[in-house]
Symmetry: C2
Subunit: 262 residues, 2 copies
């Protein structure tokens, strides 16, 4: 499909016109896609501080000005209210609606956070010849709630969520090198090896996503996961919160390659 080679601006326009309403995986190859979390301004400082204190699970790509729907840094000219195929509306931590634009829900006191996602981070792994198991097996990445506490900030606190990719030790070393280049999109692994060291009781039962096969001679490699900030934000049951619907991401103008420091 040609959407894979189109520019983000063109694809966002099609999304805005509701001509693309699907998952965004595979669209605009090479460009960073982002998770969305929108919160009222009263919580925005604490949440921004939480991301600053926990950069590995919370890779911020852009934060909008209060009430402004344009992510000026990650996608100048875009409108966060219309350029994602599907949104979820939460009140006091409960999902109350699922919508295709935010025309009826946007408020002047909202701040939108765009948070990096694992697509940015798995491209360079594949480019380096590493197998990414859940891509091979065509299922969602397995994610686990750990016993590693995030550094709290204001009202926000909670455990780190990690994603897991099984690898041969030699590949785990190479993956550490490759992902170390991308400190602004999760960076190096958080843990390699024994899942119980970080509070994971059963590696075959992820808390989110689907289990990946771990072959003999492989070890699980764990990275901080971008689900963490949404989970932490949700846990305080904010009066109002908006997220993207799973798999329906915001496509930025940022090249994945530009998120690498080396």
């Amino acid at each position: 499909m040609t959407y894979s080679t189109m520019k983000p601006k063109e694809v966002r326009q099609l999304i805005r016109e509701k001509k693309i309403t699907t998952f965004t995986s595979g669209l605009c190859n090479g460009y960073a896609q982002a998770n969305l979390a929108i919160l009222p301004k009263e919580l925005a400082f604490d949440f921004l501080l939480f991301t600053q204190r926990n950069p590995k699970p919370c890779p911020v790509l852009d934060v909008t000005e209060i009430g402004c729907p344009e992510p000026k840094l990650a996608a100048p000219g875009a409108d966060i209210r219309y350029d994602i195929p599907k949104y979820r509306i939460y009140r006091y931590g409960e999902m109350t609606d699922e919508v295709t634009d935010l025309s009826t829900y946007w408020r002047d006191d909202l701040v939108a956070f765009l948070l990096g996602c694992s697509f940015s981070f798995e491209g360079p792994m594949l480019d380096a010849g590493l197998e990414v198991r859940h891509i091979t097996e065509n299922h969602n990445v397995p994610m686990y709630i750990t016993n590693i506490p995030c550094t709290p900030a204001g009202v926000f606190s909670g455990p780190m969520v990690v994603s897991m990719r099984p690898m041969k030790p030699k590949d785990a070393i190479r993956a550490t090198q490759v992902t170390s280049r991308m400190p602004s999109v999760h960076g190096a692994p958080i843990h390699i090896g024994n899942p119980t060291d970080i509070g994971i009781k059963d590696i075959s039962k992820p808390d989110f996503g689907d289990p990946s096969t771990i072959y003999p001679g492989e070890i699980p490699v764990f990275w901080a996961c971008g689900v963490t900030p949404q989970a932490v934000a949700m846990s305080v049951k904010p009066e109002f919160m908006i997220t993207h619907a799973p798999g329906h991401m915001f496509i930025t103008d940022l090249l994945n390659a530009d998120l690498s420091v080396l």
Copy 2:
């Protein structure tokens, strides 16, 4: 002097007791020292957003909770009001006082930002066998206001300030590698070569600090400078602002080595 090998906590205690009242350069070798900017909470979100959008000139090491004087992440147990040898008080952009503690100036609506400084960043250069000219010549690093705009955030905007170190081309390449490892403390250079490309008219006349000798066969190498966020904050003439006095830094518990991603 033994202060160089003491732990940060011990030296901060001596500063708190006003037994150390001098420049902090050379104290607690290996530990990161930080610039201080304290602003009222009304400006804190915009300022934090400014640092997030401009990570190269604004390497945030810690941000305190509103009204809380403890930098819990960078130095648990420390008190930002007493643990720096000298502070400057500004009202509407004018310096109105210089004090050795903040007992009379602290307010419940203040947020303190600790921003990384070039000490963290020059250690690894020296360790890599690179000459750092202003250290050799025993003067302050030359700094220049450029024509590179920072990404604005709320009320904050302004040009990037850079520091300059002259190097042979081969050393400039090595310095690029070494500093790329430290994206959270300025990272790779912003520019190499012709000063006028970034709006610097006379390399022999820095806007801050002292000029460094540039020998034949050397090129100037420019890094984003931690003076940028203070200069930008000051330019909006906030009702109230506190900074450290030049050279009188906050000594954190963070190892410089821990600020490296590789």
